[in-house]
């Protein structure tokens, strides 16, 4: 976090992101200035920072969730391309249609941060609160749900990395955590 001066290679950054959560902080800080400059060179928009946040998250979700994803350019190029796609998307929503004339060619990258279905539904908000409680109070539930549903890890890997004796134990624990999430969500929804 404090090592602002050091520049990490793409491979190092990806390894750090997969290894621990600080990796994404490093990536964010390393590419923030360049990507924001690039975005501002395309267009003046109030939400550049937000667009960059989304671009970093899009990259994060790709490398952590999508096993088929292969990065065919530098992280910087990828982030700029996603920033550009998302800026275009936002302007389109505002009924503003812009042709960018930048000299970076990212046309083969079409990724954006995917919108989530029924994001603002009461149930989704209650689940959000329930997950927050789960994470706050500690325990392994949040982590096991994250690994299984978000990172799509296999049970044997979860068992190994979370120190369960075997994958059946991890599976039982996951089922208990799912029930716990359901109860917490119910309580939040109707409290």
């Amino acid at each position: 976090m404090r090592n602002r001066g050091r520049q990490y290679s793409d491979a190092e950054l990806i390894a750090r992101i997969k290894e621990d959560s600080d990796g994404l902080d490093l990536l964010y800080r390393q590419h923030q200035r360049y990507c924001l400059s690039y975005l501002n060179s395309l267009h003046n928009h109030d939400e550049m920072q937000d667009i960059f946040h989304d671009a970093v998250l899009a990259f994060y979700e790709k490398i952590s969730k999508d096993e088929a994803f292969v990065l065919r350019c530098s992280i910087q190029t990828y982030l700029c391309a996603v920033c550009r796609n998302m800026l275009r998307e936002r302007l389109r929503k505002e009924n503003r249609f812009i042709n960018f004339e930048d000299e970076f060619e990212h046309d083969n990258i079409i990724d954006v941060l995917e919108p989530i279905e029924s994001e603002n539904s009461p149930k989704m908000k209650a689940m959000h609160k329930a997950l927050s409680l789960m994470k706050e109070t500690g325990g392994k539930c949040y982590e096991i749900l994250l690994r299984y549903f978000y990172l799509k890890q296999r049970m044997d890997r979860i068992a190994y990395e979370m120190d369960y004796t075997n994958s059946d134990n991890a599976k039982n624990q996951k089922a208990r955590c799912q029930r716990r999430l359901k109860i917490l969500t119910s309580n939040v929804l109707f409290s």
């Binding site: 400059s37 004339e101 000299e103 500690g138 749900l145 549903f149 716990r180 917490l184």
Partner: protein
């Protein structure tokens, strides 16, 4: 390590409140002491794990030493075993106990509705009907987790921005440097308003691209002064030659 009932009883007798046994009996009375022993015994039989048992006893001792309200102690003790069945580790439970109960009311309320196997206990008819209606599909959990993680990271990025700056200097430096055009007339007007700054920006952009992110020139003041001086010199020379 699997234990037989006799061993469990022995461990309870040897460990529970070994230092504060009398204090506890005085506080609750012998009857409740026996009842508590029985409860812990039952938990241990269900779990049948020495480490869990020892840990439970440790927590029980800690609670007796640190809390002095009967209701609180009772409640926490009853919750302890359930916490184990819900994915908490020993240190998590200690943290929970230390933090007190207010913060975790909702969590504990939920846990009280589970039996020892983690199944949902029977509840009031209305609540029961609602709970059986609520179905959470796997893809909903996935979506909720994605949203939660996104929110978490965005908050974290905002913290980084606060700590190290958000790149707003870059915004100023490249302000108006739009290399884009818009089809809508409104935007065309906006663009023409920025035409002056665009000239400067094209220059800075060239410099920026060459050096891949190095600082562009700070201003064009020097350039303007130089042109003005040249014009004055030319005017002076013209005047001089024409007048002679």
């Amino acid at each position: 390590m699997k234990l037989i009932d006799k061993e469990i009883a022995q461990i309870i007798e040897n460990n529970l409140f070994s230092d504060s046994k009398q204090k506890f009996i005085n506080f609750f009375g012998p009857e409740q002491y026996q009842s508590l022993l029985h409860e812990i015994y039952l938990y241990s039989v269900l779990k049948n794990d020495e480490n869990v048992l020892r840990s439970l006893l440790g927590k029980a001792n800690y609670i007796i030493e640190n809390f002095d309200t009967k209701n609180v102690i009772n409640r926490i003790l009853k919750d302890l075993a359930k916490l184990y069945f819900s994915g908490f580790t020993s240190s998590d439970i200690m943290q929970l106990v230390k933090a007190g109960n207010k913060r975790f009311d909702l969590e504990l309320k939920a846990l009280r509705e589970l039996d020892f196997q983690g199944n949902i206990l029977e509840s009031e008819p209305e609540e029961k009907a609602f709970k059986s209606d609520l179905v959470i599909e796997d893809d909903e959990i996935e979506r909720a987790l994605i949203l939660f993680e996104r929110q978490y990271w965005k908050n974290r990025f905002k913290k980084i921005d606060k700590e190290f700056g958000d790149g707003s200097k870059e915004k100023t430096r490249f302000k108006g440097m739009s290399a884009s055009y818009e089809i809508e007339p409104m935007m065309a007007m906006e663009e023409s308003m920025h035409s002056k700054s665009q000239k400067i920006d094209r220059y800075t952009r060239k410099s920026y691209n060459k050096s891949h992110g190095s600082m562009p020139p700070k201003s064009n003041k020097i350039k303007i002064i130089f042109i003005a001086v040249v014009l004055v010199v030319i005017a002076f020379l013209l005047w001089y030659f024409l007048s002679n």
